[in-house]
């Protein structure tokens, strides 16, 4: 049996890559990496690295221009996982495998509602995502990369939409026993952990723009806009996973804010 988290973690309280339960992977990001597009970004969380380029509100294609009442911009997302992204080289038939289409639809519906699209009637915002290497929590990294690229493209949005994954260190299929619960929630899962443990992806945004002064009481203005879970876990653990996930999102939000502030265009 390869070294997996669920057996070694209870003994050492350290994960495979030596992180504690609530530590994020190293997040590096840059924006406006590609002058040829309206907005672009490169983001890497641990070994998952994603490049995103946004082709800003452009004249909508003839097809949907005619649809009645399209008073707001249409968001188009195109996700492409490179052949060399995974451990095994896998050539998808035209990038239309289940995972990339799932991410594309989730992103499209998320940003369709998140962005102020009513400011750009009859136009299309097209987002192109290339996954350079996939090492777990792909949807969360894609959301963060998209947010950075859209900010770089100058498209107004209520707040930074940041995504993060959270999981449980055991199989978490039996109900939680408050007296001796030995399962810890884990933050920001890598590929081996994601394949083996139950996990969810949560993305939050702030409705009221986060000013300097009201940094402290921004807890209750946090809104969850994306919650996606594809594995089974007992309902009692859900609450802790969500709490850890949302806390992770706010940590990531500070990192992204620094990146945006840091890069004087």
């Amino acid at each position: 049996m390869p070294l997996d988290t669920s057996t070694t973690y209870p003994l050492t309280k350290l994960r495979l890559d030596g992180r504690r339960w609530n530590e994020l992977r190293l997040l590096q990001a840059q924006i406006s990496t590609n002058p040829a597009s309206s907005g672009s970004s490169y983001l890497s969380m641990g070994n998952t690295s994603i490049m995103c380029s946004v082709h800003g509100p452009a004249e909508g294609r003839r097809g949907d221009g005619g649809s009645a009442g399209s008073g707001h911009a249409v968001v188009e997302v195109d996700v492409n996982v490179a052949g060399f992204a995974g451990v095994e080289r896998k050539r998808r038939a035209g990038g239309s495998d289940r995972q990339s289409t799932r991410i594309a639809t989730t992103l499209r519906s998320t940003f369709q509602s998140h962005l102020h699209t009513y400011l750009y009637p009859h136009s299309t915002i097209s987002i192109h995502i290339s996954v350079l290497s996939a090492d777990g929590s792909l949807l969360a990294a894609a959301i963060n990369a998209c947010t950075l690229a859209l900010v770089d493209a100058g498209i107004p949005m209520p707040g930074l939409l940041c995504g993060c994954t959270a999981g449980m260190s055991g199989s978490a299929s039996t109900p939680r026993d408050p007296r001796h619960d030995e399962l810890d929630p884990l933050l920001d899962l890598s590929l081996p952990e994601e394949q083996e443990l139950p996990s969810l992806t949560v993305a939050t945004t702030t409705v009221v723009p986060v000013g300097e002064n009201n940094m402290d009481e921004d807890e209750e203005t946090m809104k969850v806009s994306v919650l996606s879970m594809e594995s089974k876990v007992h309902a009692t653990y859900l609450e802790t996973m969500l709490a850890v996930g949302i806390d992770g999102c706010s940590q990531i939000r500070e990192l992204l804010a620094d990146v945006i502030k840091g890069s004087r265009r």
Binding site: M51, G83, A85, G94, G95
Partner: protein
């Protein structure tokens, strides 16, 4: 973004008006010193930034970006695969060969098996194109053909490169490496993407490493899992003058250059507008042959110039609303001769003399080919 583009082999037709096209054509076809829109000399290349080993999960990777934002990332992954002995080699002639090869096993070992072209697999990903469109297939076939075809000269100190790249992939009679080269063009192809893709592939292959083989002879391959001792796909010659400057490679992967001819002038590294008015577009793959110093030609392919698809301008004589003049005589179909300054889509092929001149400027001593290869040799591939 993925609107279905007319799958012509050249990149999509640029939206330039006939007047702009004719202005560009006259400025590019000035005899002896063409004036290029960005002021470069005919053999000057655009500056590019290159970095290698950017993807930890691959055997070798490289990223090259132009100043105008077109970027390409190439990832090379290798996997061990069983060699299927095709049935028709089992006929009597090679059976006989196989028979006596077995009894004098030690002497020529695996050298008898030469590599196969289809062990190198190349796929090109261009946003907006499906991967079975004409352009990605054409580019993929062009680069794979020159990669696989580059049979290296018999330089003594590099035995395993004797069979070229495909020779290098042989492990023994029953096993070989399969190389997957994935090329990712990140932004819309502003210029014809070929030179960018070929330079990135060149650097990615130079930085590719394969794990060190610990098993010997015909047994199943077993590798040393310490990545630090992995060997380079393209072996480096150890006679390095000083550790600081770039290592020298006896055999390098090929480089494909894009050359266009406008009127009498030969122009290198054209951008999209220049290709739109070109009379002829050639892709020439070259490499430095290991034995003699000059360049070796690997493959030439002519590309369909998009100038044949553009819209013709209408000379004033035929323009009906020019001050109400009566339309010229109705022999409009065959009649229009070449009216100066009015753009007409290019007709016909290209003169043979122009082709030989294009190839000569690439291959001659101190020519553009040598300049590009020297430029690449300067890049330190760690």
């Amino acid at each position: 973004m993925s609107n279905q583009r007319q799958a012509s082999s050249a990149s999509q037709v640029p939206h330039l008006s006939p007047a702009e096209l004719s202005y560009l054509y006259t400025s590019l076809s000035l005899p002896k010193n063409p004036i290029r829109p960005d002021g470069r000399s005919p053999t000057q290349f655009r500056p590019l930034s290159a970095e290698t080993n950017i993807l930890p999960g691959t055997n070798g990777s490289a990223r090259i970006g132009f100043a105008d934002g077109t970027q390409a990332i190439v990832g090379v992954k290798a996997s061990v695969e069983k060699t299927i002995l095709a049935a028709d080699t089992l006929d009597s002639r090679s059976l006989a060969q196989h028979g006596d090869a077995l009894n004098r096993e030690g002497e020529e070992g695996s050298a008898a098996v030469s590599g196969q072209g289809e062990w190198v697999q190349m796929s090109i990903e261009i946003p907006g194109y499906r991967d079975d469109d004409a352009l990605p297939v054409f580019l993929g076939e062009m680069m794979r053909e020159s990669l696989v075809g580059s049979v290296a000269g018999g330089s003594e100190e590099v035995k395993e490169m004797a069979g070229g790249l495909k020779g290098r992939l042989v492990i023994n009679k029953r096993w070989h490496w399969r190389l997957y080269i994935d090329v990712l063009l990140l932004s819309q192809p502003l210029a014809y993407p070929l030179p960018l893709l070929s330079l990135t592939t060149h650097l990615a292959l130079l930085s590719t490493k394969l794990p060190k083989l610990k098993s010997t002879g015909e047994e199943d391959p077993f590798f040393d899992d310490d990545w630090a001792v992995a060997e380079y796909l393209y072996p480096r010659s150890n006679k390095q003058s000083s550790p600081s400057d770039a290592p020298t490679y006896p055999v390098r992967p090929p480089v494909t250059l894009l050359v266009i001819a406008v009127g009498e002038n030969v122009i290198f590294d054209p951008n999209r507008e220049e290709i739109a008015v070109a009379d002829a577009v050639l892709a020439i793959s070259i490499t430095r042959s290991s034995d003699s110093e000059n360049m070796k030609l690997l493959s030439i392919r002519s590309i369909d110039p998009p100038s044949r698809l553009t819209q013709p301008g209408i000379p004033n004589s035929e323009n009906v609303n020019m001050l109400g003049g009566p339309p010229a005589s109705s022999n409009q179909s065959g009649g229009q001769e070449e009216v100066g300054g009015v753009w007409r889509p290019r007709r016909g092929g290209v003169q043979r003399s122009v082709i030989t001149r294009m190839i000569k400027t690439v291959l001659q001593k101190g020519g553009v080919g040598e300049e590009v290869i020297q430029g690449l040799e300067g890049v330190k591939v760690e």
